[in-house]
Structures are given as C-alpha cells and as structure tokens.
C-alpha cells in the first residue's frame, strides 16, 4: 500500500493564459477517488514542494456519475473524476482539462456546444402543452428498453473529447447528439417529426462526418451503444435523403 497519493494537475488561470503543471502529495487513505483527493487538497492547498497555492478549480455536483459535471482527462483519458478510484490509478495521477472544449480555469471547461447541439437536432418531444391530455402513447417494453439506454446520456462530453473527427478544423457534432436524435426519433410522438432531426444530421458536421474510429463507445461512462446509434442514424438519413430526392 502506498504511503501517499501523488497528483499532477495541469492548471490554467484564465481562458487566455498559459497552462502550467503543479504537483501535490497527500497522505494515503483507502477508498479515495479523484474528487475526494481534490477536496482534501483544498483544505490546505500547497504544492508537493510546500509552496502555498490555490485550490484546483473543477466542475462537480453529484459525485454519483449521473450529473455529467466532472469529466476530465485522467492519466491521459477522458473520464469522470468521481468514479476514478485512486486505488486503480497509476501514480502520480495526471489530471488535465478535456482538450476539445475551451478551458475556463484549471480543469473546468465550457461545454455549451453540447447543449447547443441539442438545439440543432431539435432534441425534444414537441408536446402541445402541459395541460392534462391523459396518458402518452403506448410503447412496447423491448423498444422502451433500447431507447432507455440513450436517455441515460449525461452530456459529459467524453465521447467528443476522444473523437478524432471533433477538432478545430471540423464542425462534427459528435456521438452524443446523434444518439439523442435516435432517442427522440424512436419515441412514438417524436417520430412524427423525425425528418427535422434527420435534416439536422444531414447538414454540415452531421452524421456523415463520423470517421468510424469507435473511440466514443469505449469512452462512454454510461455504456451507451453510441456506434449503433450512429449507424442507425446514418441509414435513416440515407433513406430520408433518397426519399426526399424522389419526392415520395
């Protein structure tokens, strides 16, 4: 058992300043995760060399891997910090902000683009109003189970961070919003305007730009079948395009 926990964090003071690395060391305790270590450092923030510093800034909320806040690169891989257990990580543990989103400060990044993508694909069921119209449409349980997998997406952004097609030179929307289009198109009411979502996925940066690296499905903390959704949406957009071409 190690006597201490060592951590190396890539820090950045403002969105425009240069990044720098700092190292920390705290006494070992069993059953820690990356978040609890960052919390511990905040109680007496100093570097491994003993220099006073400030607490590391990072996003977090639920610590149960359901809010999607605490995504970061841990030993080089995008993942959630709350489920990154210290005992299963090689030390010194390297923490970096995700690289595909603008850094705000330290490990905190701006993922607004993901929420904007949900606007792009019209990610909602267009109900008429909140008044009582009785039960929703019936749905076969096996189909519901498939759709449920997609509804677990926590918008963490890991699938974008690991995707080679998501980069400064492309507008690729990424796996998460494509899977959301799949979710809404499979709902009996959502299916009524499936075409609008397919058109969004056929526009620039849509499903065509997927390079089939399949990194997304491996990086998803919720084990969402992202590549299945991409394949299904690829076929659906092709069919939709042909139908539209021939006006049938």
């Amino acid at each position: 058992m190690p006597s201490s926990i060592r951590l190396s964090v890539k820090r950045q003071d403002t969105p425009t300043s240069s990044p720098y690395w700092e190292e920390y060391e705290i006494p070992y305790q069993p059953r820690q995760n990356v978040i609890s270590v960052l919390m511990e450092i905040a109680k007496d923030p100093k570097t491994r060399a003993g220099k006073a510093t400030s607490p590391v800034v990072y996003d977090r909320a639920c610590l149960e891997e359901v809010c999607g806040s605490c995504a970061m690169r841990i030993n080089g891989v995008a993942r959630m910090a709350c489920t990154a257990l210290i005992d299963s990580l090689e030390q010194p543990i390297r923490l970096e902000p995700m690289a595909k989103f603008p850094v705000q400060r330290d490990l905190s990044v701006d993922r607004q683009v993901m929420f904007d993508s949900l606007k792009r694909i019209k990610g909602w069921i267009p109900i008429d109003g909140t008044y009582d119209l009785g039960p929703g449409p019936r749905m076969p349980e096996p189909e519901r189970q498939q759709a449920y997998e997609y509804s677990k997406c926590i918008t963490c952004g890991n699938c974008l961070d690991v995707c080679p097609q998501v980069n400064g030179r492309s507008n690729f929307i990424g796996a998460a919003p494509i899977a959301q289009a799949r979710l809404f198109n499979s709902h009996p009411t959502g299916a009524m305007n499936a075409g609008e979502r397919l058109e969004a996925l056929m526009a620039e940066g849509g499903v065509d730009d997927c390079g089939n690296a399949q990194n997304c499905v491996r990086a998803c903390p919720k084990s969402i079948p992202l590549t299945t959704a991409i394949a299904e949406m690829y076929r659906a957009t092709t069919r939709y395009g042909i139908k539209k071409l021939f006006g049938t």
């Binding site: 109900i127 909140t130 677990k152 926590i154 709902h187």
Partner: protein, 612 residues
C-alpha cells in the same frame, strides 16, 4: 402584457417546471443556476414518482395516496396542498410520459408501477433506477424549446446572492454573481421563484450533490423570508458510505424485493452467502410484518441505527446488509440497473452476487422556506387559480420544491419528492404570472433598490476577496458537518443540541477569521464558498434551534431523554399534539433565529397515532 418577466432561481425539476409553465403563458423567464440546468440535483433521484394510477387493479386511489402522505408525515403537513398534489399526480405522470420519459412498461405497453415505502400499493412509476434523471431531462428539453423560441433566457454558472426588496418590502428581483467573471448584477422581475433544492452540505457528507448547500434559502431567510420546520431532516436508511459523499442506494431496491438483515450472532464474520436463513436477522420484517422492509424512512433508519448501536452491525461496524441476491439478474438489470452500477463502480462488488453494505445517510430536508396556498373557503380545497400558491411571506417571492417546507410534514415518503417538485412548479409558475399581473401597476419605483443591492454585494465580495485570517473555509465546513451529522440527524437530545448551538456560534466567530487561499479574480470558487459557508452556518442554527425547542418526537425528529439508552421508543419523548402539532416558523435576527409556531391545517384528515 408587454415586458412581463419572472426570475426562476434553480434549474431542477421544480425550477424547470415553473419556467415551462410561465413560458407557456407567454411570460419571459430569466433562469438562474450555478450549474448547467441539466446537471441539477434532481438527476440523483432514483426510484420513481408516486401517482395513484391503479394500473395493477389493487384499488389504489388518490385519496389513499393523500392519507399515506399525511400519515407518513406524522400529520405535520398542511393538508389541502397535499390533497391537491395527490389528485394531480396521475396527470403529472401522464404529462411527463407525453414529454418522452422512458418509463418502464407493462407487457401491454402501459406504464409500470413498483412499490415504495409507506404504502401497500404499486404506486411508483419509474424509468429504470434513474427516474429523476429522466424526468429532469424531459423538462430540460421542453425548456430548451422555449430557449430557442426566445422566452427563456438561461444564466447558467450564476449564483443567487440575495433578494432585491423595494421600500415597501416587495421582492422586485435578485442579485447574482457570475461564477466566471465574478461580476455581480441585479436583475428585475415581476416575481421571483426560488427552486434551489435542499441543504445537504450543511451536514458535510450526505446523499446530496455538493451544490446543495442551502445557501440561497438561507440568503432569502436573512433577507426576510420565513423558514419553516427546519428541524425535520430525513436520513435515508440505505446509503453507501464514502470519503467524499454518501451515495444513495434507492428505496426501490427494497421496493423490488431487497431485504435488510444482519447476522443473528454479533461479530459473525462469515461470508454472507454462507450464513443460513435461520441465522439471519431480518429485523424490519420481524418487527413490522405489514410493511416489512418498506416501512417509512424515518423508522427504517432508526431501526438500522439501533441494531448497530446494539453491536449487530457487520463486523461491529455501522453497516447492515441490503440483499438482492435472491432476485434474478435479468429482472435486476431492467428495473434497478442504474443504482447497481453505482454500487459496483464505487464499492467494487456486484450486488447481484453479494449483499450490499449500507448505512443511513442525510438525504432530504422536509423543512424549508415557508409558503402558503390559496384556499377555496367554501370547499376547503386548494385553489389552483390563486396567486398565493407557493408564495412566501415576502410579497413577490415564491418557493418550490425541496426548498419549500410544504407537503411532507415531519417525514417524506419515498417517491413523493419528484411529484412534489413538479406539482409546486405546476401551480407556482402560473401563480407568479398572476401575481405579476395583479400588482404590476401598484408597486413603487425600485431603481434605488437595485443600485443599493448591487452596491451592497459588490462591497461584500470586495471585502471577501481580501480576507487573510488563519481559518480555512473547507475545514470549518467539515467541523460544521460533523457536528450537525452527530447531533441533528437520526437522534436528538437537548444537551447535545445546546452544545451544537454553542459550537455553531463558535464557528460563526471563526468564520470572521477565515482566509482566502485563492486570490484570483476569475472563477474564484473559494470566495463564493466562503459566502455560502456563512449562509450554511445561519441555516444550521435554524435547524438546531428548531430541534431544541420541539420537545417531542414526530416523524424524522426523534428526541430521547438520555442518549446513552439508545434509539428506543421507551427512551423517546412521545408525540405531543397539544403543544407541537404546529409548524415551526423561524425569523432571522442578529441574535439568531426567532422561533414561533403556527397552526397546521388538518381540516381534511383527523390526526391519529402513527403505527406501522
């Protein structure tokens, strides 16, 4: 009407429902949240949402749901809003179904329902074991529609600091802090909704998200809003202890057949699966044959606590088994997948094969900002068209969801929180719109109040940016949390409560000597936390004082004469309706909370003894 604009603070279920309902009436909404609203704490609700749809033909009805809720809450809730919520619950579930929530289905494709605590009926609709997440997403999506159409404007990563009140005391808007630029601004509104959730972090580690500090409720309280029933804190029977938080293990685990037990022999260290049935003590089933493992949370929590105090905890530790291993894997995956994954990821054992180890953890505040309701005087029912609904004592300020005190009384039943948040937003949004229309032409000019409020908070944050005392805010917060968990959760005793009051005052003094380690002017979360910490200390005193003054046991508030004699009925003060069938009302003053008591509206169900 032109330029109607309300402010909603908080983007969980209650806040989003409020925003959607107001936007639907054509009113503009400024929506504030410290996190992107899709990351709000409602995502953590697991088990489901109650509504007496009676799909299973068991004879369930909204009237029984109403009775279960009032009885479960030990008669401390004002009854008309509870009845109105239970009546509305099936419609709310249908609405969320129409919004696309992937609720589990029966073989006929209808919504499936499971059992939960405090009822004998299958009344809980669920989407796997991530129901809160699914419900929140559905409302987030509807809200995004209104964002696209221009009616909803989001201020995410903005923190509520305080109310703006005009010369007559009306709430006219809020002051808020941009979490990145650290700029402070005031925002006008025809009405303000606080839907900011619970105060779990006052207890240090809890099942709450770390954003649930109760800071907004406390700030509103210090700005004049009344806080009610603060002493009623729900401790969930089954959480997974962790160094950073206590992770929830949903009641649905027991709803789907999970059994709580300990070995009959103290200190039995055998592998749990090798312990024969006859040598296991299923203490909840034994003591409560009618409800078994599904007794209400306050009761299950106390029983687990007492069993551990008697030395029956696993290996002498504060842990008991929650056992699902007798249920087929496939069924567990379909109905409970989400929570089993959480256990697996954080503990490393597969709960389908090995019984889980759990212990009670702070979970929910029944108390919160005092709100009222419009009452139809001829029928005694809640009037859904009233602008009074969900309004606080401060005109123009409304509160909805866990941050308001209504519905749950002295103890909340499982799966009633989601429905109460949605119902509060459903009636709260239209009430705010109505209030705005009723008052818009009658209110005094408030320009000065906005300038004043911004000036006050600018000065305060400039001061905090320079504090350099020896105390670390995170260390103070930990001390507060430890004291509150030890003395103001499962079991209360007057001596300990008095000590806790003294300790909180000491911490308030030490807060004045707090030092900042982060001197940055950008995204400085530490300054914000120091401000939150003061607010947490203020609300901790409200909870503690309320508990000290309430000399009885009721629901989650369990007071013993002598702590060393354990968590037993004999050692406890009895429920005292003559003196304490009353709502505790706390009013802020410089010397701490001033407590008074208000009558509870028990006009619909006669209070009776609570025995499960």
């Amino acid at each position: 009407m032109a330029n109607e604009r309300i402010v909603v603070v908080g983007g969980g279920l209650a806040g989003l429902m409020t925003a959607v309902r107001a936007a639907e009436l054509g009113v503009s909404v400024d929506l504030f949240s410290i996190v992107p609203v899709k990351r709000s704490h409602s995502v953590c609700a697991q088990g489901g949402i109650n509504g007496a749809v009676n799909t299973k033909g068991e004879g369930d009805s909204t009237a029984i749901h109403f009775d279960d809720t009032v009885y479960g809450g030990d008669f401390l809730a004002d009854q008309p809003p509870v009845k109105a919520m239970c009546d509305a619950a099936p419609g709310i579930i249908n609405l969320l179904d129409r919004m696309g929530v992937m609720f589990n289905r029966t073989p006929e494709g209808l919504l499936d329902f499971r059992r939960f605590g405090g009822t004998k009926f299958h009344r809980t609709a669920f989407a796997g074991a991530t129901t809160g997440q699914q419900l929140l997403y559905a409302l987030d999506e509807q809200c995004r529609r209104y964002e696209v159409s221009g009616l909803v404007r989001k201020y995410e990563a903005w923190e509520f600091l305080g109310l703006v009140r005009d010369v007559d005391g009306n709430c006219r808007g809020i002051t808020a802090l941009d979490w990145y630029s650290m700029k402070i601004e005031s925002f006008p509104a025809s009405a303000v909704m606080l839907a900011t959730g619970g105060p779990g972090i006052v207890f240090g580690r809890s099942t709450n998200s770390v954003i649930n500090t109760g800071t907004a409720a406390s700030a509103a309280y210090q700005d004049g809003a009344h806080y009610a029933n603060g002493e009623f804190i729900q401790v969930h029977p089954t959480s997974i202890p962790g160094t950073d938080k206590l992770r929830l293990m949903s009641e649905s685990a027991r709803g789907e057949g999970g059994r709580v037990w300990v070995p009959r022999t103290q200190g039995d260290t055998r592998d749990p699966k090798s312990i024969p049935e006859g040598e296991r003590w299923y203490f909840l089933e034994e003591k409560y044959p009618a409800y078994g493992n599904l007794v209400p949370r306050d009761i299950a929590t106390r029983e687990i606590f007492q069993v551990c105090l008697q030395g029956y905890g696993l290996g002498g530790r504060r842990e008991v088994y929650l056992d699902l291993t007798h249920i087929p894997r496939k069924e567990l995956d379909t109905k409970l997948g989400g929570i089993l994954e959480i256990y697996e990821k954080f503990v490393g054992d597969d709960p389908r094969e090995v019984p889980m180890k759990v212990f009670p953890g702070m979970h929910y505040s029944m108390g919160g900002l005092w709100v009222q309701f419009g009452k139809n005087e001829s029928t005694g029912a809640l009037d859904e068209t009233s602008s009074k609904n969900q309004s606080t004592n401060v005109p123009g300020l409304f509160a909805s969801g866990e941050v308001d005190f209504s519905i749950h009384g002295a103890n909340r039943l499982g799966a009633n929180s989601l429905v109460s948040c949605l119902y509060a937003g459903k009636i709260g949004g239209p009430a705010m719109v109505r209030y705005g229309r009723e008052t818009s032409s009658k209110l005094p000019a408030a320009d000065g109040a906005f300038t004043e409020a911004k000036k006050r908070w600018d000065a305060e944050f400039a001061r905090l940016a320079n504090v350099s005392g020896p105390e670390n805010p995170h260390v103070l917060a930990q001390e507060m949390g430890d004291w509150m968990t030890d003395n103001v959760t499962v079991v209360r005793e007057n001596g300990k409560l008095k000590e806790t009051e003294t300790k909180l005052q000491e911490l308030e003094e030490r807060w004045k000597n707090v030092g900042l380690t982060d001197r940055s002017g950008y995204a400085n979360r530490e300054i914000s936390f120091i401000n939150q910490l003061r607010n947490m200390l203020v609300i901790a005193r409200v909870m503690t004082r309320g508990a000290l003054m309430r000399d009885e046991s009721r629901g989650a508030h369990f007071k013993v004469r002598d702590l060393s004699k354990g968590v037993t009925e004999e050692n406890a003060l009895p429920r005292d309706d003559a003196n304490f069938l009353k709502t505790t009302i706390a009013e802020h003053s410089a010397d701490g909370p001033k407590i008074s008591y208000a009558a509870v509206d028990t006009s619909l169900i006669e209070p009776r003894a609570r025995k499960y």
